[in-house]
C-alpha cells in the first residue's frame, strides 16, 4: 500500500531552504512515499503567536486549516518547530466545540516532522544515503522538548554511509534564535549563538546539521559571521545525498 503525504514546506523553509525541501521530497520518494504539495500553503502562524498576536495568528491558522485540514493522508514538514505549533498550539486558537477546533485536532494527529515520520511512522532508519563527512547534530528545542524527538535524527544519521557523527557539547542547549526573540533582544541572541558556534567549532565537525530551518538560518549566519568553514545543512540534505550525486 502506498503511503501518501502532503508536504508542508513551511515559510522559512520555502524562502531560505529550497534545497532542504527538494531533498525532503527525494528522501520520501526514495522510501516509497507518494508526496503531494498543496499549492495554497503559506505559514502556520507561529511568528505571530510567539509575538503575542494570538488573534492575528488565528487568521493564519485558519488559512492553514483550509489547505491542510481535510483528508486522511499524513502531513510531513521538515521543521520540528512548525509541527510543534500545529500539534500543540493550533487547536487552542479556536474555541472548544468549534468545527475549526475539531479540524485542528484532527490535523494535529496527522502531522509529523520529517525524521519523526521516517523513523516513527515508516520505521525506516537507513534511507540509503552516502555522506562522507564529519557531522555534528544540533537538537532543536521545539523538536526535542515540544515533540519529544530525541533519537530519531541520530538513528538516521548513524545509518548514513561514510558519515562520522561527532558529539557536540551541550547539543540540547538552545542556539539563541527564538524567532521574534532574536529581533527583540539581538545582543542576547548573539551571545547564546556564539556559545553554540564555539561548541560547533570545538566538535571538529565539517557539517552541522539540524531538523529546523529556523535554527539553521541563525547558525549558518553565525558561522559566516565568525568566519567558520563549517557548513550548516538541513538533515534532509544529508539524507538525500548518495553516491550517484558525488
Amino acid at each position: 500500500m502506498t503511503v501518501r503525504a502532503k508536504l508542508f514546506i513551511t515559510c522559512i523553509g520555502e524562502q531560505f531552504f529550497p534545497q532542504a525541501l527538494k531533498s525532503t521530497v527525494t528522501v520520501l520518494e526514495r522510501v516509497g512515499v507518494q508526496c503531494e504539495f498543496p499549492e495554497g500553503q503559506t505559514c502556520c502562524g507561529q511568528p505571530l503567536l510567539n509575538s503575542g498576536f494570538q488573534s492575528e495568528a488565528r487568521g493564519i491558522a485558519r488559512h492553514w486549516l483550509r489547505v491542510f485540514g481535510s483528508g486522511e493522508e499524513y502531513i510531513v514538514a521538515p521543521s520540528g518547530s512548525c509541527v510543534d505549533m500545529v500539534r500543540h498550539h493550533l487547536p487552542d486558537l479556536f474555541p472548544a466545540g468549534s468545527p475549526e477546533r475539531a479540524a485542528a485536532v484532527a490535523a494535529a494527529e496527522r502531522i509529523f516532522e520529517f525524521t519523526q515520520f521516517l523513523v516513527g511512522v515508516l520505521q525506516v532508519t537507513d534511507v540509503g544515503a552516502f555522506f562522507p563527512h564529519k557531522v555534528a547534530y544540533h537538537a532543536s528545542c521545539h523538536l526535542l522538548r515540544g515533540l519529544g524527538v530525541r533519537d530519531e535524527p541520530r538513528e538516521l544519521l548513524r545509518a548514513v554511509r561514510g558519515l562520522e557523527l561527532l558529539s557536540l557539547s551541550q547539543e540540547e542547549a538552545c542556539c539563541g534564535f527564538g524567532g521574534v526573540f532574536s529581533l527583540i533582544y539581538p545582543e542576547v541572541s548573539q551571545t547564546i549563538l556564539e556559545a553554540k558556534i564555539r561548541a560547533i567549532a570545538a566538535s571538529g565537525a565539517d557539517v552541522i546539521t539540524a531538523c529546523d530551518p529556523g535554527c539553521l538560518i541563525s547558525i549558518a549566519g553565525g558561522l559566516v559571521k565568525m568566519r567558520s568553514r563549517v557548513r550548516a545543512l538541513h538533515i534532509a540534505e544529508l539524507l538525500a545525498a548518495d553516491t550517484s550525486a558525488r
Binding site: 529550497p18 527538494k22 527525494t26 505571530l48 509575538s51 487568521g59 528545542c141 547564546i192 549566519g221 559566516v224
Partner: protein, 490 residues
C-alpha cells in the same frame, strides 16, 4: 502598586551586564545542574517524574483551596502561641514588620535569606526608620554590602567573583582580604556572629507553611536561618500565601524535589521546623513569633486560570540554571528581585504589564524551564500567554504594544495568510535584496530587520521549490534535486 516601579527595559539592562558575569553565573549553574542530574539519576527518572507529578498536583490543589488551608494554618499558628498578620500588599507588610520591630525597640535586626522580604523592599523601609538590617545568608550579605539585589533565587551573589568580593570587603569593611573563599567567609562570619547576639528581631521568610500544625519550614545550607530564628527574642516570618502546604505528608514530597532541584542535594544542610514561639521560659528560642501572610498580587494571579500555575513555584532556581538567556545575562537584567524564566512570568504579573511587559519576551521559548521545573509549571506556555497580554491585552491588563507594532502585526498577518500576497512579498523581497547581496548573504538590512544583521548575516530569499515542483510534475526534471539549489528556475 505598579506606579512605584519604573518600566523594566530588559534590553538596556542586558547590555549593561559586565563581561565577567556570564562566566561566573555559568560556573555555578553548570555545577548545580550536574549535581541535580546525578541525584535524579540515582533516584531513577521514572520515580523522579512520579514525584514531579505528585508535587504539581498537590501544589495545584493547595493554591486552588488556599482559603481553606490558610484558615487552618492561621488557627494552628495561634494555637501554638504565634501571631498572624495578614498583609494585602507590600506597603502593609512593611508597616506590620516595622511596627513589630519598633514595639520591641529594635535597633538591629538580622535576616535570613527571603525572596518575600526582597519583594516587599523591607530592608529599605526598616533602614529608613533608623533600624540597622543585616543579611546573614553569605550571598545576601554580599549583595547587601554591594548595594545590589539578588541575582539568583538561591545564590544571590552568583554574579560575583572571589576577586570582586575581596575588593568589596576592602572598600566597604576596610579589611585586606585574600581572594580566597574560606578567608572571605571567615570575615563575614565574624561580623555576623556579633549581630546574631545583639539583634532584637530575627526576620525570615519560609519555604513552606504546614497548615496541619502551623509549622514554618525553613531550608538553608548555612545555619544562619536557625540562628535568626533562635537567638533574637522576636522572630518575624514573611510568608507568601502560596507557601502553605496541607500536611506533613505533602511536605515530604516538596522537600524531596526542592533540595534536589535547587542544589542537587537530597536534603539541604538545615531544614528547620518552627511551630510557635518557646512555650516555657526555660526553653531556647524567641519569646514571640509573628507570621506575616503576604498577598501582594498573588490572589490576582490566582484569578487567571491560564497563569495560575505560576503560584506553584517553590523557588528552587532550577529554571534559571537551565535557561540560555539567564545564563548569558545573569539575574539583574530582569530588573527586579525575581529573575530567569520564573521572573519573566512572575514579575509581569506582580508588577503589571506596564512595568514588566518586556520580560515575557526575554526567552527563546526553548522550553528547558518547563522541562526541568520540579512542580511542572508550564513556564513557556505562560510566557506566551503573557506575551499576548502585553501585545493584545486581556481582562487582567491593557496592551502595552504601540499602535505601529500592532499595525505591523496586522499587515504581516495579511501577507502570511493570503497565498497571493505571500508570493508577491517573497518575489518583491527577492528583487529588493539584489543590491545588498554578497556571497549569498545579506550583511545589512533596514530596521527592524537590521537587528538581525547586527548579529549575523541574513540568508537570501531564494525560494524556487514551487517552480521546481511544477517542472518536475511536468516530467522535465529527474527525481533527483540539482546539487546546487540556489539558482532560480524561472
Amino acid at each position: 502598586m505598579s506606579r512605584h516601579f519604573p518600566t523594566i527595559d530588559f534590553r538596556a539592562n542586558a547590555r549593561r551586564v559586565a563581561p565577567a558575569v556570564p562566566a561566573a553565573v555559568q560556573r555555578a549553574t553548570m555545577r548545580f545542574l550536574a549535581n541535580r542530574a546525578a541525584v535524579v539519576q540515582e533516584m531513577g527518572q521514572a520515580r523522579w517524574e512520579d514525584l514531579r507529578r505528585a508535587a504539581h498536583d498537590l501544589r495545584l490543589h493547595t493554591v486552588e483551596h488556599l482559603d481553606y488551608y490558610l484558615a487552618r494554618a492561621e488557627a494552628q499558628i495561634l494555637a501554638a502561641g504565634g501571631a498572624v498578620h495578614w498583609a494585602r500588599d507590600a506597603a502593609e507588610a512593611r508597616r506590620i514588620v516595622l511596627s513589630i520591630a519598633q514595639q520591641h525597640g529594635a535597633r538591629c535586626v538580622v535576616k535570613a535569606k527571603s525572596m518575600a522580604t526582597e519583594e516587599i523592599g523591607l530592608n529599605h523601609a526598616l533602614e529608613a526608620a533608623g533600624i540597622e538590617v543585616l543579611e546573614t545568608d553569605l550571598g545576601e550579605y554580599l549583595v547587601q554590602l554591594a548595594g545590589q539585589g539578588p541575582s539568583h533565587i538561591i545564590v544571590p551573589a552568583v554574579h560575583m567573583t572571589k576577586e570582586g568580593i575581596a575588593s568589596l570587603f576592602r572598600q566597604r569593611l576596610g579589611v585586606d582580604a585574600p581572594a580566597e573563599p574560606q578567608a572571605l567567609a571567615g570575615i563575614a562570619r565574624s561580623r555576623l556572629r556579633e549581630a546574631f547576639l545583639s539583634a532584637e528581631v530575627g526576620i525570615t521568610g519560609a519555604n513552606f507553611l504546614v497548615a496541619e500544625t502551623g509549622t514554618l519550614v525553613i531550608v538553608t545550607n548555612e545555619g544562619n536561618g536557625r540562628m535568626c530564628t533562635t537567638l533574637p527574642p522576636v522572630h518575624v516570618a514573611v510568608v507568601g500565601i502560596e507557601k502553605v502546604v496541607p500536611d506533613w505528608e505533602s511536605l515530604t514530597v516538596l522537600l524531596k524535589v526542592l533540595a534536589r532541584s535547587a542544589t542537587g542535594q537530597k536534603l539541604s544542610c538545615y531544614t528547620s521546623f518552627i511551630t510557635g514561639p518557646r512555650r516555657d521560659p526555660a526553653e531556647h528560642g524567641p519569646r514571640q513569633l509573628h507570621v506575616v501572610v503576604l498577598d501582594n498580587g498573588r490572589t490576582r494571579i490566582l484569578r487567571d486560570a491560564r497563569a495560575r500555575e505560576t503560584l506553584l513555584c517553590v523557588r528552587c532556581g532550577s529554571c534559571l540554571n537551565v535557561c540560555p538567556v539567564y545564563n548569558h545575562v545573569g539575574g539583574h537584567a530582569y530588573g527586579w528581585v525575581y529573575s530567569g524564566p520564573i521572573g519573566a512570568i512572575l514579575t509581569p504579573q506582580l508588577l503589571g504589564t506596564a512595568v514588566a511587559g518586556s520580560l515575557p519576551f526575554a526567552s527563546t521559548l526553548c522550553g528547558a524551564c518547563s522541562e526541568i521545573c520540579p512542580v511542572k509549571i508550564p513556564i513557556h506556555e505562560i510566557l506566551l500567554h503573557l506575551r499576548r497580554r502585553a501585545m493584545e491585552g486581556d481582562e487582567m491588563d491593557p496592551p502595552v504594544a504601540s499602535g505601529l507594532i500592532r499595525a505591523g502585526a496586522k499587515v504581516s498577518a495579511w501577507f502570511l495568510r493570503s497565498p497571493w500576497l505571500y508570493a508577491a512579498a517573497a518575489h518583491l523581497a527577492g528583487m529588493m535584496q539584489r543590491p545588498l547581496w554578497r556571497d549569498g548573504w545579506l550583511h545589512w538590512l533596514p530596521p527592524p530587520l537590521g537587528r538581525w544583521t547586527l548579529v549575523r548575516p541574513f540568508p537570501t530569499f531564494q525560494g524556487d521549490f514551487r517552480s521546481w515542483w511544477r517542472r518536475r510534475r511536468g516530467g522535465r526534471i529527474a527525481a533527483r534535486p540539482p546539487r546546487n539549489g540556489t539558482g532560480r528556475d524561472d
